[in-house]
């Protein structure tokens, strides 16, 4: 389609994000909350909705909801009730889902994102608590649908944004921030492939400048960040094409197929949606007390946006570094700790972002299992800063030796390995003289003006000294020798 036509339209997206809470037990009963177990092994009479059973709220699930609300800068509602959302579906034995309709626990809040229109705030409408449904498995050609109720009753948070998103990448950033936050807070594993983090997008388009929103389509089943991006981009073009052909957009639910990159209308037998919400009488109101809120606030870990600010403002790191370092809480905290022992923040950042991270990747371990403490990495940084070992040697030979013998001071190891840099004139000068004698023609060429030969002399000197000379000092001495 002609780009000038596409450019006449504006995309409008709001997200409904579900995140499964990593509690031990379910939201309203004490059966096991665990992913990937044998079908229909994690259930109880409450989950199965046997007559006479009564739900009881999981205290930790409520606390997790409050923590997420605080992290998203929401207002926490003190008086909470649950509502029944009524519908018949086999993955929901009760015939209703417990959720919060009119009075969600968290109101407002926002995420900062940046895209081609600059820095913008994506406002949150709400975060509410609810329970997950079971899983229906539809096998091709089978006369039956198989139902697994392990997931039924698992505590969920639903995070709902306002329709503030205008670019697919903004939706991805919101998802990434939610995933990062739930991991920082340790309230969910945020795994999209396993469905503990799920995204539904309400997508519409309108002519630029129009006030009124277009007819929206709900797209489901985007189980990765990439698919969120692809599905929104596809759906935008599909709707623009339809409108250009004079067709009407049907308000419907569509599913994204990652194999084709397209969205398809979902046809279910239940077309009539009338949820008849009403307050759940079996769960007494939850009143969040001042002291509980204060306690939860004090338990909050440092958050990624706070650490990002600190790393850029206080440590003067580039935003790229701050972004990489704050992506994972454990890495960010390791870095924070490292900065207690060194004030060379940029060097500390380089060590963590490249050298240590690639070690973790190669060995498939987390930072918590990294054999060296942050104070020990600071010792390595100090050795380089003092000119005792070169940066390259420190990051290769010395680090390797240190990992094998973490109890030995790296200075001692450097001495044993004979890699302490020589910056002594008496050590370096004979080497330089040897090199210059070997290449008399190059020396003449240099003197005639081929100054870029300096690099070649430098390389030879490094080679001859087996990398032991202090490069700064050697550089200076070579220059002096050549200009004599």
């Amino acid at each position: 389609m002609d780009q000038t036509v596409v450019d006449q339209y504006e995309l409008v997206v709001g997200l409904e994000v579900h995140t499964q809470l990593s509690t031990q037990t379910k939201a309203f009963s004490n059966d096991v909350n665990s992913y990937g177990d044998e079908p229909n092994t994690n259930f109880s009479v409450i989950t199965l909705a046997h007559p006479g059973t009564l739900p009881k709220s999981n205290k930790v699930a409520v606390e997790y909801a409050i923590k997420m609300g605080l992290a998203c800068r929401c207002k926490i509602k003190r008086y909470n009730i649950f509502d029944r959302k009524n519908y018949f579906y086999p993955d929901l034995p009760k015939g209703f889902q417990l959720t919060q309709d009119k009075a969600p626990i968290c109101l407002g809040g926002y995420f900062d994102v940046h895209s081609e229109r600059g820095e913008v705030k994506i406002r949150l409408n709400r975060i509410h608590m609810e329970e997950d449904a079971g899983k229906s498995i539809h096998l091709e050609g089978a006369a039956f649908t198989m139902v697994d109720l392990n997931r039924a009753g698992v505590p969920l948070l639903e995070i709902v944004t306002e329709p503030d998103i205008r670019y697919a990448e903004e939706a991805v950033q919101v998802m990434e921030q939610i995933r990062r936050l739930v991991r920082y807070l340790n309230i969910s594993d945020g795994n999209m492939e396993e469905g503990s983090l799920r995204c539904d997008a309400n997508i519409s388009v309108r002519k630029k400048g129009d006030e009124q929103l277009g007819c929206k389509v709900e797209v489901k089943n985007m189980n990765s960040m990439r698919n969120v991006q692809k599905a929104i981009e596809y759906e935008k073009l599909r709707q623009i094409k339809a409108l250009e052909l004079g067709e009407e957009i049907i308000s419907e639910t569509r599913t994204f197929n990652p194999d084709t990159g397209k969205t398809y209308g979902m046809r279910t037998k239940e077309a009539l949606n009338d949820y008849r919400y009403f307050p759940e009488p079996d769960l007494p109101p939850i009143i969040i007390k001042e002291e509980d809120l204060k306690r939860l606030e004090s338990e909050m870990p440092p958050l990624p946006h706070e650490l990002f600010m600190k790393f850029t403002d206080e440590y003067k790191l580039p935003s790229y570094d701050a972004g990489v370092l704050t992506d994972q809480k454990e890495i960010a905290l390791y870095f924070e700790d490292l900065c207690k022992y060194t004030s060379n923040y940029k060097s500390a950042s380089n060590w963590l972002m490249t050298t240590i991270k690639s070690y973790l990747n190669e060995n498939n371990i987390e930072i918590g299992d990294f054999p060296l403490k942050s104070a020990q990495i600071a010792q390595l940084i100090q050795l380089v800063d003092d000119g005792q070992v070169s940066n390259t040697v420190a990051k290769n030979k010395l680090l390797k030796a240190f990992l094998k013998a973490p109890s030995v001071h790296p200075k001692t190891l450097a001495e044993r390995l004979n890699i302490i840099q020589e910056s002594d004139d008496d050590f370096i000068t004979p080497i330089i003289n040897n090199v210059l004698e070997r290449y008399p023609d190059k020396v003449v060429a240099y003197k005639k003006g081929k100054k870029n030969l300096l690099g070649m002399f430098m390389g030879e000197v490094m080679k001859e000294s087996k990398g032991k000379v202090d490069p700064k000092k050697a550089n200076q001495l070579i220059r002096e020798a050549l200009e004599k």
């Binding site: 909350n33 199965l48 205290k59 930790v60 018949f88 579906y89 498995i137 008849r276 007494p284 009143i287």
Partner: protein
């Protein structure tokens, strides 16, 4: 509010309840009697009254997130009209 034939059918569908066509007028009368009675209550001005959602004054009844315990799979499946020892089997949901 008045319950008509369409409303009756919709309610029956939503609640997956079936009734004999011959009983239709009886059902309509019965439902309208109830609705009429509730309509009578609506005459009271409740604009200043918070909705009553719970019949007791109990609040904050919590369970600690501990001692997970499952029902035995066989026990849980046994009352289902159809199951295969692993899954509940229900009539095909998707077209």
């Amino acid at each position: 509010m008045k319950v008509d034939k369409n409303t009756l059918e919709k309610i029956a569908h939503l609640s997956r309840l079936y009734f004999n066509k011959n009983d239709e007028s009886k059902m309509l009368k019965s439902l309208n009697d109830i609705i009429g009675w509730v309509d009578k209550l609506s005459e009271v001005d409740t604009s200043e009254v918070e909705p009553l959602t719970h019949m007791t004054d109990e609040t904050n009844v919590f369970r600690n997130d501990e001692n997970p315990k499952n029902l035995d799979r066989e026990e849980g499946l046994k009352n289902a009209p159809q199951q295969n020892g692993e899954y509940f089997k229900v009539p095909r949901v998707l077209d």
